[in-house]
Symmetry: C2
Subunit: 443 residues, 2 copies
């Protein structure tokens, strides 16, 4: 699994080190490799040692009895340096192996790890993997999943920068819980009650007044009381917000471009992707929430027309429908009922029971939520009053609308859920590096 | 103050909108501008209206009495659209102004803001600015400071990516406080005690085992009990960590390259920078902590040789000394006493009273801290025992060293402090968008 995108390190450390993935450029040379003792395979007269570094693995052919004894006594995951001859070898997948090695131990592991990292898939249970994150995160496929996540988050940023968005950083300690009070973590803030931000929603809206188009990639916190495969207490929230929109459809256009960049960034990781790389159509198909419920009712024979939201099974059905009808892995569902959306949601002007909002389904799972927001001060005061919410804690936020705000909207997605759906990973805890949930606060 | 880097929006909203900064490309055309009512200047027969958008401002020449009456009755910060003729005009700084305008109000401000945004510097006090962030952040210079911060954080990321670092996201809710227990926020985590992470230190070290070189740009939290101009409760921590270092000097080399990229990213913002743009030497000068104290003692006539740390006045003196001696705005101070550094600090092998650590001073202010870390499991157990710290809460972290870790090190800097020092901004609260401190939890 070579990583063509990893450049050679420019950092000197004694003799210049070579990445294992670059051995093909050094055939016939004596090279220095550094990395972890990944695996050994002992035959009668020879022992094959696999060294793992950030770029992949290299096979070292050991024939001298003292070296063999050294490697046979070494715990896996010990850190070693190997100096040896790079020899072309069609038998190994990299095409090169190391002969005539000289091996030194940089940092001997204190114990034999309980997890076998050399297997293509980790055999350990989810709990064992998470409890032993310091080792299990070293598994090549697991580590590479983080490279995929990193590439996707940077594509989110670079796409939005190209669309004139500016990065912001907003408070994660807040004095009220705008998204609803149930799943929020409480905090002692110098003796006052405070909360961890569930989203940067109010702050990104304020910043539209200053910069028109903004984005943030930062942790968000939800005290999720349910133990599901899709929810954790902290996730990386990718947020964008923009001014001077016609309505939510303008936002859907920006999101489509952004998603296209994110999927493009995933292309070098085709080995991790579940099924084919998804194509992003120039215009993603969309269906109104009420039409979606009509279709589902018709297909299922069960009347779901009065449902206020889509159940996961409905989303899966719509995903399959979009694939069959449009050949698309993506489907916008628009116009969710106002009653199910937060107070800042902009109604559909012609049908105020419905909202100018959307979810983006990817292969039958909601991965992005967005929409147009209210922008008039009076509309906010009315929306808060209707819901019985005291406007006073929101005074600093409401100032943004009191002093002139354009029609605006935005969207948010959880990075790890997006990566999990793309890579066909069943539990988001295999994407978050050190997941937090009801049971888990360590490591 | 045009922003040449802001591209024309590709997003349709009725007739294509033109950024005010791009008017020079549209002389002789009838154009649509959208933005905020920034300022008006009334003469006898003509009224000049300044429209502000994300790219800058445009002057609109109003002669018709109804339009004049409209603008004179409009609160500042109302959102407007102006369609008019772009006419070359050498008198205005942009070289173009709008004649024969048709003005429509998109979103009328509910009240006249208490802050005058058209002045080159905001006259309001710090507290007034912060209390009215939704308006004061719209001030062109203030908004542009956020563009500078955004450019610098992205340069941090792109420089490290080019040096084979991978982005990570680590938990901000943790079960113990490795950097010391005093300035940490406590949290109710599903009925258990938890804390907000003061840094990603332990997690970035664990990830060196998986990816060798990692970085993170994420909020960090400190319950700072002092009301200073340099400290806030939440800042954006720019962190990097790398394996296979010789010692802290390897890390200083990577940091130097990274800082160079960050300063390069600031060049388009020369109007915001305090004094000249700082040059970053190919090798930043360095001085050992003990030599620094010798110099300061000699220069001041006061014996500070037994001090365990540098006072701010010492840092300022060293900054002036580096400028005079080396012509450098930057100075590494290395080898801080082990006693003042956290438990994971690697000692200087030849002089174990001192550490393989460094601070980077920029114009006499510490802006980056870093160093080599311990990498052997036994060394961690000994370091914790010496300091009387129970190793049990750190079990998941110590696993990284138990199962083979290379010599490694890294660094951390606070984005906002760096930007403040570069831009000559006296209080970090004028860089953080919505600062949090002992007194301030809103907006």
């Amino acid at each position: 699994m070579p990583h063509a995108s990893v450049p050679v390190p420019s950092i000197a450390h004694g003799r210049a080190r070579v990445w294992s993935a670059d051995l093909g450029d050094h055939v016939g040379e004596r090279v220095v490799l550094r990395g972890w003792f990944h695996h050994r395979r002992a035959l009668k007269s020879v022992l094959f040692l696999l060294l793992r570094d950030a770029s992949g693995t290299a096979q070292i052919v050991i024939e001298s009895p003292p070296d063999r004894a050294l490697v046979e006594s070494l715990p896996h995951e010990s850190v070693i340096a190997v100096t040896g001859q790079a020899i072309a070898s069609p038998q190994v997948s990299a095409g090169v192996e190391i002969h005539d090695p000289s091996i030194s131990v940089i940092s001997r592991a204190a114990d034999e790890p309980g997890i076998e990292l050399f297997r293509p898939e980790l055999g350990a249970s989810l709990h064992t993997r998470l409890d032993n994150a310091a080792v299990s995160l070293r598994h090549p496929r697991r580590a590479r999943t983080q490279r995929l996540a990193a590439a996707i988050v940077e594509a989110f940023r670079s796409s939005l920068r190209a669309q004139a968005f500016v990065e912001i950083a907003t408070p994660k300690i807040v004095d009220s819980a705008p998204e609803g009070g149930s799943n929020v973590f409480a905090l002692d803030y110098f003796g006052r009650d405070a909360y961890l931000a569930q989203s940067p929603q109010l702050y990104k809206q304020i910043m539209v007044g200053a910069l028109e188009r903004v984005f943030e990639t930062a942790p968000a916190f939800r005290a999720e009381p349910h133990d599901t495969s899709r929810h954790v207490s902290q996730f990386l929230s990718l947020d964008a917000e923009m001014g001077f929109v016609a309505d939510h459809v303008t936002v859907m256009g920006v999101l489509t471009e952004t998603i296209r960049s994110m999927v493009d960034a995933a292309r070098p990781f085709a080995d991790l992707i579940s099924g084919d790389m998804p194509a992003v159509p120039s215009s993603i198909p969309d269906i109104h929430f009420s039409d979606a419920l009509d279709l589902i009712s018709e297909a299922s024979g069960e009347d779901v027309r009065q449902e206020p939201d889509l159940a996961p099974s409905h989303e899966r059905w719509l995903g399959a429908w979009a694939k069959e009808r449009y050949g698309s892995d993506w489907l916008f569902v628009t116009g969710y009922p106002m009653a199910k959306r937060p107070f800042y949601t902009h109604p559909d002007p012609s049908r105020p029971h419905w909202s100018n909002s959307f979810d983006l389904l990817f292969r039958g799972l909601e991965v992005v939520t967005g929409g147009q927001r209210l922008h008039r001060h009076d509309d906010y005061l009315a929306a808060l009053a209707t819901r019985g919410i005291d406007p006073e804690p929101f005074a600093g936020y409401l100032d943004a609308f009191r002093f002139g705000m354009p029609p605006h909207g935005g969207f948010a997605l959880g990075l790890e859920r997006f990566v999990a759906q793309l890579a066909g990973i069943a539990n988001i805890r295999d994407v978050v590096l050190f997941p937090r949930d009801m049971q888990r606060l360590t490591p």
